[in-house]
Symmetry: C2
């Protein structure tokens, strides 16, 4: 049975030493989040994840969800109680406005909690995760009446949320969607159509389920310009807030899938269900994007989270399993064999995962902090810069952290040899669960196109220029310091590759857009590498400062520095290969006639 320990100390190092969260005390909610408060919340959250939901992960996978003939769905044993404890703990509304019952704390703190939950039990975490996304969309685009009706119950955790986009014939290309909305004449609409792949579409955790549904109002323009967003509750809500009759929406079936078995992936049938327009007519994609952007960051966090829990279990195994002898002579001569952590190739695997996890955590929290600043700062320039950064980092966090998070789950599984393949050890579940994060909320190829086709050119490349400028300034300011050289030099080289690749796109993709499409994934990974490398630069700097201050964390800070050096020596070199692939362009990719595939 796998175990999980939330990396509380590492989070505090990142928030306080690396990102200097104290600097943001002027932002709403941040002053309340003093180090002591943060510490208390993280300890409490860690305990909940470690003791309540992590033990449900393996049995939840094995039992899965069950759909009954009446269309109801039950979650695995223990999920209802755990969800009640989650709601009672006030976790759903951690970052929600006090006005609706939330605690108004920084989104950054909620992001930490998302990581812990997604490590402990990804399938469980998706229920509140989708609800938080729906809350975000209603906060921005809901009418005052909708907010009053739905938000307090959702923030309390009594009701959960979903997002309904995909249909059998359309996933990425939402312009093709067919679900229709017909005005009822009373301000509501009758929604009819079939949605597929709806996570948490039906379950037994909450009293009501608030579906946010994309549909086309009769007579709306074709394509994406004719899509509107609707809120469609499972149970209609009476004027006094109590639950009314069942709405015309039901779960037609649940999917048998590779992983996240404990989260019901539903086919949802809308049969004249009553829905209310959220935001403006035909501007549904716009409204849904609030939810989607939030969800994309959360999915990136899931990639990190699975990589983290897989690492922890692989490291424990490697320290205990006795097999073979160190190449340099027996390390444990009193035992029949040495623990396999003496073998360089085993360590190489563990270090690859670890070096990713620590940097990815910093990157995620930097993005989350950018989101807080973008939403809460009173300085328009600061808001703008943070929003630029958030937009730029979102596809990178989603795409790169889930690609590498999955790879790392596979890598950690490998450390266990044959046991990694056996269900009871839990490692193969991490692999199966991590796999979904590369697919949902926009498959990673779509993230790459979002980055290259939308985020790069936006505002004349302002966001990218700011990012590259910031990394360049960091290299300039720290390059002379001896202790920083092993970090700054490889980072500067990676940055050069990124600059070169950007230039290549500018020169070659305007006239021939396939050149951008052909290199988009590699570009996303190149930017991810530079962003993770920048995080290592900042972490190394913070670690050196902590060591200089001599506060007793020297062993931990030394480990940081070693891990950062490993990143620079072993992972950064990929930048050159990525850049060469980008410059190969699209010719060989596009040359084959389709029928020859």
């Amino acid at each position: 049975m796998p175990s999980y320990k939330a990396p509380v100390e590492d989070v505090k190092f990142i928030l306080q030493d690396v990102l200097g969260i104290d600097r943001f005390n002027n932002l709403a909610g941040f002053a309340e989040a003093s180090p002591d408060v943060i510490d208390a919340i993280l300890q409490e959250g860690a305990k909940f994840c470690e003791e309540v939901i992590a033990p449900l992960n393996l049995p939840g996978d094995q039992e899965g969800c069950t759909r009954h003939p009446d269309g109801s769905v039950t979650t695995p044993k223990g999920f209802r109680e755990a969800y009640r404890a989650y709601a009672a703990g006030g976790w759903m509304g951690l970052a929600a406005p006090a006005e609706y019952g939330g605690q108004d704390l920084p989104h950054t703190i909620n992001t930490v909690m998302q990581e812990f939950i997604s490590s402990a039990n990804l399938a469980f975490g998706m229920y509140p995760g989708l609800t938080q996304g729906a809350i975000a969309a209603l906060l921005v685009h809901g009418s005052p009446d909708q907010k009053r009706t739905f938000l307090p119950k959702m923030v309390e955790g009594a009701w959960t949320g979903t997002m309904n986009l995909t249909e059998p014939h359309c996933g990425t290309d939402l312009g093709l969607l067919k679900t229709k909305a017909v005005p009822n004449g009373d301000g509501s609409y009758a929604i009819t159509g079939t949605k597929i792949f709806i996570s948490a579409g039906e379950h037994d955790l909450s009293e009501n389920i608030v579906h946010l549904v994309l549909a086309r109002i009769e007579g709306a323009p074709a394509g994406t310009k004719g899509i509107s967003l609707f809120v469609v509750p499972k149970f209609l809500v009476n004027g006094d807030g109590s639950l009314g009759p069942r709405n015309g929406v039901s779960c037609g079936s649940i999917e048998h899938k590779m992983g996240i078995h404990a989260n019901a992936t539903c086919v949802m049938n809308y049969d004249g269900a009553k829905g209310w327009l959220v935001g403006q007519e035909n501007r549904g994609l716009n409204a849904m994007f609030v939810m989607m952007n939030e969800a994309r960051l959360a999915v990136g966090v899931q990639g990190l989270a699975q990589s983290e829990v897989a690492y922890q279990n692989a490291a424990s195994y490697a320290k205990e399993r006795l097999q073979g002898r160190a190449l340099t002579g027996a390390a444990a001569p009193d035992k029949p064999a040495d623990p396999i952590i003496v073998h360089p190739d085993v360590r190489r695997n563990l270090m690859l995962v670890r070096a990713f996890n620590e940097a990815a955590r910093a990157l995620v929290l930097w993005a989350a902090l950018s989101s807080d600043v973008a939403h809460r700062s009173e300085d328009p320039a600061e808001r703008q810069a943070a929003d630029d950064r958030l937009g730029l980092l979102t596809p990178v966090v989603k795409g790169v952290l889930t690609d590498l998070g999955f790879e790392n789950a596979v890598r950690a599984q490998q450390v266990l040899g044959g046991h990694g393949y056996i269900a009871e050890w839990g490692m193969e579940q991490f692999v199966r669960d991590a796999r979904i994060a590369m697919i949902y909320e926009g498959a990673n190829g779509i993230q790459a196109m979002d980055l290259v086709g939308r985020k790069l050119p936006k505002d004349g490349g302002r966001a990218l220029m700011a990012f590259m400028g910031e990394v360049e300034a960091f290299c300039r300011e720290n390059g002379a310091e001896d202790g920083m050289k092993p970090f700054v030099e490889p980072l500067a080289k990676g940055l050069e590759q990124l600059q070169g690749a950007t230039m290549w796109f500018m020169q070659n993709a305007m006239a021939k857009p396939d050149n951008a499409g052909a290199g988009a994934t590699e570009y996303m990974h190149l930017m991810g590498l530079v962003a993770l490398g920048y995080m290592w630069g900042k972490m190394a700097k913070a670690a050196l400062a902590r060591k200089a201050a001599g506060d007793g964390a020297a062993a931990r800070m030394d480990a940081k520095l070693v891990t950062g050096r490993f990143f620079m020596e072993r992972m950064m070199p990929e930048a050159g290969a990525l850049a060469r692939r980008i410059r190969a362009g699209s010719d060989a990719i596009m040359a084959l006639p389709a029928e020859m595939f």
Copy 2:
């Protein structure tokens, strides 16, 4: 439901145009394998795989194997009939000696069949696969009596085989094994102990199961020097060849695992079971290695096989699924959207898989041909050279083809988006099934150590020098030809990286063996890249020749050339990053104290 079409034409191109199998007509069995005979066998084998076993793959995964309270195990519905058809078709003994009922055909042809079977139904293919390995071990090390008793029945397919190495506390480190063998005084031994992870250890496909079991004879030296190999049949065999009473071996349980559900992975309990020594006392590892080397190549083939079938299904989906428009304008303006194969990133994924598959197939067949030459040539120098090559390529084929085969199954799954995650589409099964190949028959880290620690230094590096010399000569001989330049130049650069990395090991790993351990996996992949690149060089040359001959295969040959160019532009650049990682050495990997992991 996924489908499969055996790549018969591609195999023939490789055998005839690339490897020039005609040149070997002087070898035993090769003269019989005329192009017509090969064609007939491949067509027949393809039909069996496509029509009989591929349709059982998805249902077999879903049903899995069942162990009954009496210890018997049943395979999924349809497996018994399919296995009977396999045996009746004479497939088991394709390359076995006529003396024991085999067809004495080249091992190379059997390897092709292994690919087809492993694409169509990996779990099914493991039953005959292990049997063929056991046949090989008995052929080399069995006594005349053992051969007479077991081989005809095994070659016929009436009895199957297994290999029993792993115990709960020892997998890689066989020196730790505890299963003991006590002489019965009649020439037989009483075998007692527990073996785990025994594929096909118990099932309902054959009348008898012939276990090859590693055990320690009472009083034998500790470690690997005291291990002997025994043959332990499930049913004892009477003097007249009929089946006698049940032996003291039984299946204690079967594992719940990530994939290959239709192959029973058994805990085997030996309780004084009667066994007979195979080969010499205390030389069991030596005898088992015959089986293991054969099995390692076959597992490499499994990596290719899963990559191939995953590719085929992803390519079909990409040509049918309509979503979005080409970046260069609508490709199918009459349809609501373009097939997703117009998108460069989708094609990039498909090309990566395809460029691997074709080169991996050539590499596998080159290794198989080397095995035939090593076993059948009458020229000692030719035998020696082929044996050297086979030894060098074995860990590369096993490690690289399974690592990349799995990656490619994941990549192909990604092409299907959400559908890739759903069981009924079959893609997620390919991923789960492909995963085991990186683990069993020596986890890939062990393959890397076998390559770097054993195969490189062997005979003063003779095998490696010959390999690098051959690639170098190819580059020299073909570099001047215009059509070959896009292949030869990148290949020569990759070779340079391999030469540089080899030199680095020579200079840095003698004094500090951890430097070899730290770079072993990267070195294995670097050699794999060069070997695959060399195959592309040879395939390009053959394709250009076919085009010049103007035999009507121009479109297929053009596709070869495009795919080869893609390999050189997109995959070969990894060589530089691998070489840089190797040269980073072991310092950052070994620096962290074990307790800090």
